[in-house]
């Protein structure tokens, strides 16, 4: 299979359903099939990245594992979080549970133009 660049857009926060895990599944499968995989967290999607201090009944263990897999999986080209989305929500880099590259909105907009395939949930 030839390679294309994929951008996975996460701009919502999910509790009580499996959407975010299912999104990350696609990204991981694409990476395992030698595609160039990029993930972007923006808007409410940045809330997915906040450190949790305790588990609860909507514990998202599977998501936590998936996210760590994404961060550790060296076949993933980039994971980005949008600076303006963090600032608008009163958050900063120290609130994030994984080390992740912060990029400006204008940079992300330019990336969107130059990618082959965009997938959003």
């Amino acid at each position: 299979m030839k390679s294309k660049s994929f951008l996975f857009i996460n701009r919502k926060v999910f509790f009580g359903n499996s959407h975010i895990v299912e999104m990350l599944d696609v990204a991981l499968i694409a990476a395992s099939l030698n595609q160039h995989v990029h993930l972007a967290f923006l808007d409410d999607g940045v809330f997915q990245l906040i450190k949790l201090h305790e588990q609860n009944i909507l514990s998202r263990e599977t998501f936590e594992v998936s996210l760590i897999n994404i961060a550790d999986f060296n076949n993933i080209d980039h994971v980005w979080v949008e600076r303006e989305s963090l600032i608008e929500r009163g958050l900063g880099e120290s609130d994030l549970k994984i080390p992740i590259t912060v990029i400006d909105r204008v940079t992300l907009s330019n990336i969107m133009n130059d990618i082959d395939v965009i997938v959003s949930v």
């Binding site: 701009r11 330019n110 133009n113 082959d116 395939v117 965009i118 959003s120």
Partner: protein, 103 residues
């Protein structure tokens, strides 16, 4: 040449999809409003002013079938956008290198 086609299907009065799309909109982009996204085209609405693109480079399209089923074809709509039907929608996708759906 236009590169990206943004498609928004949510009303701007209840969801942030259109606002976020516009935040990421640049000169290479085209916008198509479908489904409840077409409510953004009501001329006298509070949201209408966001569509007064002045540089002439930005293109906004709205899907005719979704205007009609919502009865908006009989209302005053913002004038500087173009109407496409589903066949035009397909051609818009074909004429851009990538499509991003916002919802």
């Amino acid at each position: 040449m236009k590169k990206i086609l943004h498609i928004v299907n949510k009303s701007p009065f209840t969801e942030d999809a259109l606002q976020s799309c516009l935040n990421h909109f640049n000169d290479f982009a085209t916008l198509l409003l479908i489904e409840n996204g077409v409510y953004a085209m009501l001329e006298d609405s509070t949201f209408a002013k966001r569509f007064t693109f002045s540089d002439g480079e930005r293109s906004v399209y709205v899907l005719w079938e979704d205007l009609v089923i919502r009865g908006l074809d009989k209302h005053s709509l913002i004038s500087n956008f173009q109407i496409v039907d589903y066949l035009g929608f397909v051609q818009l996708v074909a004429n851009h290198s990538v499509v991003q759906s916002w919802f």
